[in-house]
């Protein structure tokens, strides 16, 4: 129980529009938890409800057993890192970091000690007297984090903090944020539309679409074992083949597709006759005929990605099937127009109900 964050039947409506619905979730203390989804899926709304700038229309949010309803944003033990950072432009770095303490009346001597500790934590010693408008993007990022951590929140909320940074810096900051979270043990709630980020940094991920959580679990679960077509198509690259269930056995099913008969996981318990989509990841398709599931098609394109080579196979009535081959000595090159066979294991395929895809 401790300081877990519990959502119970939380709903948020703005007039006719329902931004968040049926939110039932427990985020454990000390967890790095991410909400992943496209814009408009409701993740920002959830963040603002936790931080106190919006109140839920229905339901309750509890921290450590105590309800947060009616508690103003300045009285909650949460801290928010805004998307544009919102550092106070007229103050120095030190003044920004100690702001939360100074409004609580903490004596100046303690404040100075805290500034030193924080600057060490974010590896920017000596920047205390610098003005905000003289800093770079990465520096501002870290100071925003220091400012929020300075008030010792129980929950730190991060609103797509890395979206403004360029690639290399973003990757560096991912590791940094993870390290800081581990070191401080504060619950991090992270929202983003970048799935690579969410999967890499989080203990658990909740994939959201249109106000509802589609699936919530460990990164590997989300990736390898999607339970809805939305999750399967939104997270990572995935091949989608229209199918109809012909037979089921335990947790697996056999389906009939345009390429022939395949078998795969059936996590949603579809029955014979149901319309479905069979998902298989590009990297799980092998050019050798090792597996029972085998499809043959003509190569329509070839893309060199550096670490991999993507082959596009003709898929009548659907997007080209993508086969991702590692760029190592097992690489078999194929030319356009060539007919190829690719196979995949039953455990690599997931069969999910049709009609739940992410919008392309």
């Amino acid at each position: 129980m401790s300081n877990d964050l519990e959502f119970t039947d939380v709903v948020k409506r703005f007039g006719d529009f329902t931004a968040v619905r049926d939110l039932n979730l427990t985020i454990r203390e000390g967890e790095f938890f991410s909400f992943l989804g496209p814009s408009g899926c409701g993740k920002t709304t959830i963040l603002r409800m936790v931080s106190g700038f919006i109140e839920p229309t229905d339901g309750d949010i509890r921290l450590g057993g105590r309800s947060l309803r009616g508690v103003g944003p300045n009285k909650r033990p949460t801290a928010l890192i805004f998307q544009n950072l919102a550092l106070f432009p007229l103050m120095t770095v030190a003044e920004n970091i100690t702001f939360g303490l100074s409004v609580r009346g903490v004596p100046k001597s303690e404040q100075a000690a805290l500034v030193r500790r924080m600057l060490d934590l974010i590896a920017l010693p000596g920047l205390a007297e610098r003005r905000i408008d003289e800093l770079s993007g990465g520096q501002k990022q870290r100071i925003a984090i220091a400012r929020a951590l300075a008030v010792e929140p129980q929950v730190l909320l991060l609103d797509e903090p890395l979206s403004a940074l360029d690639l290399k810096l973003r990757q560096h900051m991912r590791a940094e944020l993870r390290a800081i979270q581990r070191r401080t043990g504060v619950t991090f709630i992270y929202i983003t539309h970048d799935q690579g980020e969410a999967l890499a940094m989080s203990d658990r991920v909740a994939v959201m679409s249109q106000g509802r959580i589609e699936q919530c679990g460990l990164s590997a679960e989300i990736y390898d074992r999607p339970t809805t077509a939305f999750v399967a198509s939104f997270v990572g690259e995935n091949n989608a083949i229209r199918a109809r269930v012909v037979e089921t056995r335990g947790g697996e099913a056999a389906v009939e597709t345009g390429f022939g008969r395949f078998t795969g996981h059936n996590p949603r318990g579809l029955a014979a006759g149901d319309e479905a989509i069979l998902f298989v990841r590009p990297e799980k398709l092998k050019l050798a005929a090792d597996h029972p599931n085998c499809l043959t098609a003509r190569v329509t394109g070839r893309v060199f990605e550096g670490t991999s080579v993507d082959l596009h196979l003709d898929h009548p009535g659907g997007r080209p099937i993508m086969v991702r081959l590692p760029n190592d000595d097992t690489l078999i090159d194929a030319a356009e127009g060539q007919a190829l066979s690719a196979s995949f294991a039953t455990s690599a395929a997931t069969i999910l109900p049709a009609g739940e895809m992410a919008r392309d």
Binding site: N74, L80, F88, V103, D133, G138
Partner: protein, 286 residues
């Protein structure tokens, strides 16, 4: 029209225009130095006596005192009102903002004489107070507060609401947010609004004249002097005013340029840090 002719014509036009603007003032100031009972440039005989005469004119100083009291009261009223209006229009969630805006702005669009008269009629005739410097201050406040509000609006509209939210999020009470985040941000706007309010109040004639009853202000004193026939003492006063204005304007310009230079320096520092970041692929350490 060939370009060169156009440029020449433009320069000429500008020259004539600014001559038209500045020459009368210069002429008026020149007359302050002529030793002649009637203000004229004829038989120019330089002297400073008119400055002395102006300085010792008690009625002028009475007028100045009243003007200062009025300006002080106007500042006290107009700035908080303007700020309230700007905060309401930009930050509050409430209906009817367009109507509120129109009502509060309307004094700017009304003739000064109407403002003066309506204020006089309300406070003096209807409510029975004796018209004086404070009825004038109230009349002036109606439109000066609107000007202040416009200045604050312009500044507040560029204010990132996330800054106030961040302060709240970190634990500040609404009062602390206002005092420690909003007001410092508004400082430049507060200063220009105060300067504008003071100037507009001090040099106002029509609205003041119709709402002040029998009392005098600095501008009323000058107008009376001019109407009744003058000595160059008035010109001496004019000289001082114009010089003061020029000095203030110059000072403002210098301060503005200094602020710009500082901002430019900060911008360059930030860019240097950014470039370092790109090269290293991680946040700059210093």
């Amino acid at each position: 029209m060939p370009d060169r002719l156009l440029t020449l014509f433009t320069r000429l036009y500008l020259g004539v225009f600014f001559l038209y603007l500045l020459f009368p003032l210069g002429y008026m100031m020149l007359l302050a130095f002529n030793n002649s009972r009637i203000p004229t440039h004829r038989n120019f005989d330089p002297t400073l006596r008119w400055f002395g005469e102006a300085w010792s004119n008690n009625r002028m100083w009475d007028g100045v005192e009243n003007s200062l009291w009025i300006a002080a009261l106007v500042l006290l009223i107009a700035i908080p009102l303007g700020l309230a209006g700007a905060v309401f229009l930009t930050r509050f969630k409430a209906p009817g903002k367009t109507a509120v805006y129109a009502i509060l702005i309307s004094p700017i669009l009304a003739p000064g004489i109407v403002l003066g008269i309506s204020s006089f009629i309300f406070w003096s005739q209807q409510l029975g107070f004796r018209a004086g410097w404070w009825t004038a201050a109230l009349a002036q406040s109606s439109f000066i507060a609107a000007y202040c509000m416009l200045i604050f609006l312009a500044r507040l509209q560029r204010f990132d609401p996330a800054l106030e939210e961040a302060a709240l999020d970190l634990g500040a009470s609404p009062r602390q947010v206002f005092l420690r985040i909003t007001v410092p941000y508004m400082r430049p706007a507060l200063l220009s609004a105060a300067a504008l309010a003071f100037l507009q109040s001090f040099e106002n004639y029509t609205t003041t004249y119709f709402s002040i009853g029998a009392q005098s202000t600095f501008t009323i004193f000058i107008a009376n002097s001019v109407r009744q026939g003058v000595t160059p003492a008035v010109n001496a006063v004019a000289f001082v005013i114009v010089m003061a204005t020029v000095l203030v304007a110059a000072g403002y310009e210098i301060a503005r340029r200094r602020g710009e230079r500082r901002r430019e320096r900060a911008r360059r520092a930030a860019i240097a840090a950014e470039m370092q970041e790109e090269l290293l692929g991680k946040p700059a350490a210093v």
